[in-house]
Each structure stands twice: as structure tokens, then as C-alpha cells.
Symmetry: C2
Subunit: 207 residues, 2 copies
């Protein structure tokens, strides 16, 4: 009756492994397929360990949601360069892998479907959404200023809502039916659409 050998992982590392395993299971089997046992197998540990790192499975799932939102927003929030470049990069990043792929949207959708059910997830979601749209709104304000266009708060708000919607919608199309589009087609359509919306070139032909 021998017990398995194992190694004691450094504190934060094992937590991160468990969160990653949670996301893998949700993406592969859906929320209801992401059981404590399945997650433990994926992480290469036994089920009991989950409760050593997290107060409950629900808490682990909530932290996994934070990780998903971070992966979807971090890259786009850290674009650099002049406003025009940043706007172009913002669009391109959100419509290209790894942000735009079927795993991302499976994870996103799994959590969104729980937002109405679980107030904790709802709060995490709201924070992420507001941050994302504010990032875009600031970016647009800088861009319009450079282009000598009206950049009052109300105008920027409307543009941010529209472009946020456009990017989100194209992101979904790309994630769910990527095979229906040609290479680079979605990014090109997004660039052209944003230029039409803002009535200004964003230099997308330079790309």
C-alpha cells in the first residue's frame, strides 16, 4: 500500500497551476465538466489538495475568472506609442490570437452565463468591462485630440461605446467561426470600419 511520491511546490506556483487547470477543464468540458477531481487530474495532484489552497471550489472558480479577464484585457491595456499606433494596436490585438480564439470565448461565455447567478462573478465582470471601455475611451480622446477633431467627453463616450461594440462583436465572430474568414480579414474590416466611424484615417494601410 504505497503512497504516491510528490514534490512540494512553492506557495504561489501550485495555486497558479490549479487555476490554469481549472480553465483548461472549463474550456474542454464546460463549467459542469470542470469538477474538482478532473481539475486535480489536470494539475497532476489529488482532489483533496484543492481545499488546501482554496476555501471552496467556487472561490477557485472566481479566481480563475479574474485570470481570464486579465488575459483578455492586459495586452490591449498596455499598447504603446503615439495615439494612432495605439489605436491600431488595440484593435489588432483584440482580433488576433491569442485573444481571439475559440478557447477564449468558451471561457468568457462560461463565466458570462453565470454572471446573473453569482454576485461575486458579476462584480468581477463589471470591473473588467468598465476598465476595458475606459481604456478605449481615453485612447480615443488622445487620438481625436491629435487629429484636431472634437474630443469632448460625450463624443468620446459615444465613440467608445460603438467601437467597443464593434470590436467585441468581431471578436466573437472570429472566435466562433474563424474558418469563415480569410487571414487578416477581420482586422482589415475593423480598421476600415473604425476609420468610417471616426471619419479619419488611422493609418491602417501602413500595416
Amino acid at each position: 500500500m504505497n503512497r504516491r511520491t510528490f514534490h512540494r511546490a512553492p506557495e504561489g506556483e501550485r495555486r497558479q497551476e490549479l487555476i490554469e487547470a481549472t480553465l483548461d477543464c472549463i474550456a474542454e468540458f464546460g463549467l459542469k465538466g470542470a469538477t474538482v477531481r478532473q481539475i486535480a487530474i489536470r494539475a497532476g495532484v489529488t482532489a483533496g489538495l484543492v481545499r488546501h489552497y482554496f476555501e471552496s471550489k467556487d472561490q477557485m472558480v472566481a479566481e480563475a475568472y479574474r485570470a481570464v479577464i486579465a488575459s483578455l484585457t492586459d495586452k490591449a491595456a498596455h499598447v504603446e506609442g503615439d495615439p494612432e499606433t495605439r489605436l491600431r494596436d488595440f484593435i489588432a490585438i483584440n482580433l488576433t490570437e491569442p485573444v481571439a480564439d475559440s478557447r477564449s470565448i468558451s471561457l468568457w461565455a462560461a463565466f458570462i452565463s453565470q454572471v446573473r447567478v453569482d454576485p461575486i462573478l458579476a462584480e468581477i465582470h463589471r470591473d473588467g468591462y468598465v476598465t476595458f471601455r475606459n481604456t478605449l475611451q481615453d485612447l480615443l480622446a488622445d487620438f481625436l485630440a491629435v487629429k484636431n477633431k472634437p474630443a469632448d467627453a460625450e463624443t468620446c463616450r459615444a465613440y467608445a461605446i460603438a467601437i467597443n461594440g464593434l470590436v467585441d462583436g468581431l471578436w466573437i465572430e472570429g472566435c466562433l467561426a474563424g474558418d469563415l474568414f480569410r487571414e487578416g480579414e477581420l482586422v482589415a474590416i475593423a480598421m476600415a470600419s473604425v476609420e468610417a466611424l471616426l471619419g479619419t484615417s488611422i493609418g491602417s494601410e501602413k500595416q
Copy 2:
């Protein structure tokens, strides 16, 4: 030990009730909370009855997904009038209740998160998406023809992708954070955006 009294429902009716109850449970408790027992309670019957109407729970859920897609697409697919009116109505319908509300997106997201997992749901999804985008593409072709604008297939395709993305994205924003917008704001932004994208008035100021 008395047995409950009950009434024998006409064939199709009880099926419909069970599907509605399934959707109610998914919206309220999430996919994993939509158990056979919970669904039966919601429908006012006992759990055993489910298997009298459906081969399995999975089959019932798949039919429920078909019902969701129908509820999201039927109204918009049956707009009437001249092309300009149809385009306006198409946009307005998709961004107004009952299509745009938090229950709709919870249901939609719950199923989307399973599309990668379940091939049957994937097929239902694909059919719905293609139909929806083709409806929009045909509508745009009619509209552009009336406006004496270029309406070749490639142009219509690009416009359909962009506007479909825009409408989907605004739909999500409205569903998930309706309280962040003023009454009619999303529809107004959508109309203005579509006009900018197409470079043509769609008569939205008449509304």
C-alpha cells in the same frame, strides 16, 4: 399515501412547457443548475416525466437551444417594408427588449460555452449564425441597390460582417450593462454608426 392529482396535457403543449422550464432554470441557475428535478419542479410536474417526452436530458437541452436561437432571430428575420425601413427595424429589434435583455444573454452564453464541447450544439449554432448573417447581407444588398451604391457580393459581405459585429457587440453591452446606458442610447449609437459605415443616411432621424 395519496398520489398527486394531475391533468393530462395535449401532446405538444407539455413538451413546450418543459423546454420553457429548461430555459428558465438555465437563466436562473446556470447550465449546471438546470437539473432534471429542478426543471420538473419549474414545469409543475415530476422528474420522471421528462423521459416520457425526451430521449434524454441532453436531447431536451438541445431542443431548448433551438428555441433560444429562434427567439433571437425570428423577429429580426421577418422585418417588412422598404429596404431602408427593414434595415432600421432590424437594428432596433436586436437592441431592444425582448431580444436585448439579461436573460437572453445568459441563455446565449450558456450554450455558446458548450459549443466546443458538444457537436450537436455546434451544428445548431452554426446554422443559426449563417442564417442570421445571410439575412443581414441580403438586407444590405437591397438597401445599397436602392441607394444607388455599389452592391457587389464582396462589398456586401464586408458590410454584413462589420454591421453584424457592431450589432452583436452593442447587444452584448446592452444585455450585460443596460443600466450604464440612457434610454434609446444604444439604438441611436447603432443607427449613427451604420450610417457612418455605409456612408448613407438610413433615415434614423425620422424615428
